[in-house]
């Protein structure tokens, strides 16, 4: 198992985190905090000495600044794939090169445990046909799993039709949904685990809070 980087979420997932050789999808509207889960996942890997690859459509400096904003700093840094600020350049219009770059980086570290984090799913889905992207992710994730890799992908709920996201969920072993919920007059951020490899269906919602000292997950009591 691979730690999520958030101890209370590890507990929710049976005590140890995400399954080995799995692909996890976190979906939710913009601004809800999907990236924070991703940052903690990467940080946890860096602390444990895993090889971490971060493929992003955002400039590297923006991501680093964001990470610092939620209290994440490490001496080690992930390998970046980005259009700005990385050694491996990203071209969103060329999915093949993205796939080749990710696989090459992972393959060159095959003696270590590998974590891949990416926010490329939504931009690629916007720029390409769904069928093409379904096959693209199916193939890429399958190859990464063979390299003892855990992949963590983010999907922007507001950017795709619901059926598109449902289709993409099929490719992943675990799906976590984050969003705001109305409870009376108040509005609360909650998440639920739609599916997770190796775990029975998890009913119910979980509260989460993000601060500069970490992320906290608690079951929603009603």
């Amino acid at each position: 198992m691979v730690s999520t980087g958030v101890p209370s979420l590890d507990n929710v997932l049976g005590g140890e985190g995400y399954p080995d050789r799995s692909a996890i999808l976190v979906e939710g509207p913009p601004g809800i905090g999907k990236e924070v889960l991703c940052y903690w996942f990467v940080r946890s890997g860096l602390v444990q000495g895993d090889y971490c690859l971060y493929a992003t459509h955002r400039p590297v400096l923006d991501v680093v600044r964001d990470m610092k904003g939620v209290g994440i700093t490490t001496e080690r840094v992930p390998e970046w794939i980005s259009s700005t600020g990385s050694n491996i350049k990203l071209d969103l219009r060329d999915p093949t090169s993205i796939s080749v770059n990710i696989k090459q980086s992972v393959h060159s570290n095959k003696n270590r445990r590998v974590r891949v984090a990416t926010d490329l799913l939504s931009p690629l889905l916007v720029l390409n046909a769904v069928e093409l992207m379904y096959n693209f992710w199916l193939q890429l994730l399958s190859d990464l799993k063979q390299q003892d890799c855990v992949t963590f992908a983010l999907a922007e709920e507001g950017m795709h039709a619901p059926n598109v996201l449902t289709t993409m969920e099929q490719v992943f072993d675990g799906v976590i949904e984050m969003r705001l919920y109305e409870e009376g007059l108040s509005i609360t951020p909650l998440f639920r685990i739609k599916k997770m490899l190796g775990l029975p269906p998890l009913h119910g919602y979980f509260r989460f809070s993000v601060s500069s000292t970490g992320m906290e997950v608690t079951p929603r009591v009603h």
Partner: protein, 240 residues
């Protein structure tokens, strides 16, 4: 009797606009508190601040005291300058989340001149109105006010157009909906600015009622903008 109905309508419309704006402020604050990403959280807090100014402007306008009227008049200027700065920050936010960072109607060139025009003209009108009360009854003052409101109409129409272009271009449906609602609110505001003066000349009381109803529509669209900052679900209680 008809005067009473007009009074009643105006009071009702004023109360409704204030209530909707208060709700929008509350919702914006709670949503802003729940959002993690700076870009969206800032949108929510901006909206809350605008609605609080809107409510303060409406409440001060209801008072008969001279001080409250002065405060209300000044809050009008504060509101429109804040609205323009908010629009500018939305353009910047839309560019930030746009994968391809496109320019929007040359906004980066025009933003400072537009802001300077609005601030300078508002200061001139505010200072002239406060310093020379006798001048406010002259024809020249009427011309100045008409020119000022026309200028505001042009600036905010352009801003509304920029919002529409952003809404059409952005891939992010959340931002698209938010900007669209904001665009409608700004259009209501333009309508308010362009109707206020002519109606004030023709039939001031009817003008007040019509513009207050437009204020309800503006507050409603601001509320919808706040609620569209993030899709809000309802918890489905499942049997475990």
């Amino acid at each position: 009797m008809s005067i009473d109905i007009v009074d009643l309508l105006e009071d009702f419309a004023g109360l409704a606009a204030t209530a909707v704006a208060l709700l929008a402020a509350y919702r914006s604050l709670t949503i802003g508190k729940s959002l993690v990403t700076r870009v969206y959280r800032t949108r929510a807090y901006w909206l809350a601040a605008l609605m609080i100014i809107f409510v303060a402007f409406a409440l001060a306008g209801e008072s008969s005291s001279a001080v409250a009227t002065d405060i209300s008049n000044n809050l009008f200027y504060v509101f429109l300058i804040a609205l323009l700065v908010f629009i500018d920050s939305n353009v910047a936010a839309a560019k930030e989340i746009d994968f391809f960072h496109k320019d929007i109607l040359h906004w980066h060139v025009l933003r400072i001149p537009l802001l300077a025009i609005v601030v300078a003209s508002s200061v001139i009108v505010a200072v002239v109105s406060a310093a020379f009360p006798a001048f406010t009854n002259s024809l020249l003052y009427d011309i100045v006010v008409i020119a000022y409101f026309t200028l505001l109409g042009v600036v905010f129409s352009y801003s509304g157009a920029a919002m529409i272009v952003i809404a059409r271009r952005t891939y992010d449906r959340t931002m698209k909906k938010f900007i669209k609602m904001l665009g409608f609110a700004i259009l209501c505001y333009v309508l308010f600015l362009t109707l206020f003066i002519p109606l004030d000349f023709i039939y001031p009381r009817l003008g007040d009622v019509v513009t207050t109803f437009i204020a309800i529509a503006a507050a409603y669209f601001f509320y919808r903008a706040a609620m569209s900052l993030s899709p809000i679900g309802r918890v489905l209680e499942e049997v475990v």
